[in-house]
Symmetry: C2
Subunit: 208 residues, 2 copies
DNA sequence: ACATGTGAACTGCTTCACAGCG
DNA sequence: CGCTGTGAAGCAGTTCACATGT
């Protein structure tokens, strides 16, 4: 399969979230132009994005919402359940564990780890917090697909080493650190400092 | 000033964080090649990024770490203090309020808002949680520079309306909703669902 | 000799514009 | 006629390669 740009995949996710809203409204067709408006892009961009995966629309009509959202879920791999383990039982981990949207989209929080003895064993949304020392062993039997790194920056590198050795191929990193991983492991980083600094830059350098 | 790509600004933030690590180590010069390694890019990219703002290096030597980090702070607008208000006193708001790194970089949490009567008045890292109904009024006297939207998706649009009317020109959005704002308002969005779906896509479509 | 700074070449994402089809 | 699907054109960001300065 052809290589797909990250920006394209992000837009596909967006399109899907709009379609899901519309599904609830019982509207059942949508044009590339409407999708473009919702997502702040152009109709040509929408059609190009979708055309990378097939021809899902009807000329003169637009796209069937149930059909297109099904296709997008398929493309994005949201038809299977993904087993996620969260490493780091701080506020960010908590926010993730509590967020209902994940379960809806097939992301199952399968385990939560921390290294703080005070937290171990405490229940968290029906999960007991486990000792991160057991992660490697647990991963063998529980087959985590995705690991979320929500530790302080000092521990991130070490945790990632364990994650990689456990054979997990996808990491969502909330620690403000650059991770080094083999090329078959995919990392997405969310770095709040970088976002805030981007805003700072925009405020400082915008035309007056 | 020439338009700068968002990707460039993100890299500048990264470079700065590496320089700050090195500053602590009392090393005082660094080459574009080293910076590139730390940030997973190329030396040409580093030099091109920096050259957009001036010539900060010495040929044959590299960049002075204190000088370059100073320049980067200046470029990114991190020399002044930015007043941030957080709207939504949930877990994400809490994670932000607690994160020490922000204060260090000049982002001052000036206020925290919520609409839940049960939360109002409670203290949070030395901030009393205020009623979001007062946001518009408070903004007049307290001059918030940046607003963080950390509310549930249903309330995001309404909150953003108030933020924009209050004259705040920069928004960091954690709600999984597309925001509509005038073109003089900068928005950065952090959407965990999109990141996870990106990982799902990568796991589904990677070469086998 | 070494590492920067930068025009030129390149790559790849986005936009255009229109043929194709319902 | 309307809206999709898609080559071709355009443009922006990245990489190359070398002249330049120390």
């Amino acid at each position: 399969m052809k290589r797909i740009a990250e920006s394209t995949v992000r837009r596909l996710s967006l399109y899907l979230s709009f379609l899901e809203q519309r599904e609830r409204d019982r509207v059942n067709t949508i044009s590339s132009d409407e999708l473009a408006h919702l997502g702040g892009t152009t109709s040509a961009q929408v059609r190009k994005d979708l055309s990378l995966f097939g021809s899902f629309g009807k000329r003169g009509l637009g796209y069937s919402i149930p059909e297109l959202s099904g296709k997008l879920r398929e493309i994005l791999g949201l038809e299977k359940q993904w087993r996620v383990c969260i490493v780091g039982a701080g506020k960010i981990g908590a926010a993730l564990a509590r967020y209902r949207g994940f379960a809806e989209r097939g992301f199952v929080i399968a385990a939560v780890y921390d290294s703080d003895p005070a937290k171990l064993g405490k229940k968290w949304e029906s999960q007991a917090i486990r000792d991160v020392a057991n992660l490697a062993k647990d991963a063998l039997s529980e087959r985590f697909d995705i690991a979320v790194v929500a530790t302080p920056p000092e521990s991130a590198a070490e945790v990632v080493k364990v994650i990689v050795e456990a054979g997990i191929k996808a990491i969502l990193n909330f620690a403000p650190t650059q991770l080094t991983v083999p090329s078959d492991v995919t990392v997405r980083a969310v770095n709040m400092a970088i976002e805030l600094e981007g805003l700072s830059f925009a405020l400082t350098n915008r035309a007056r």
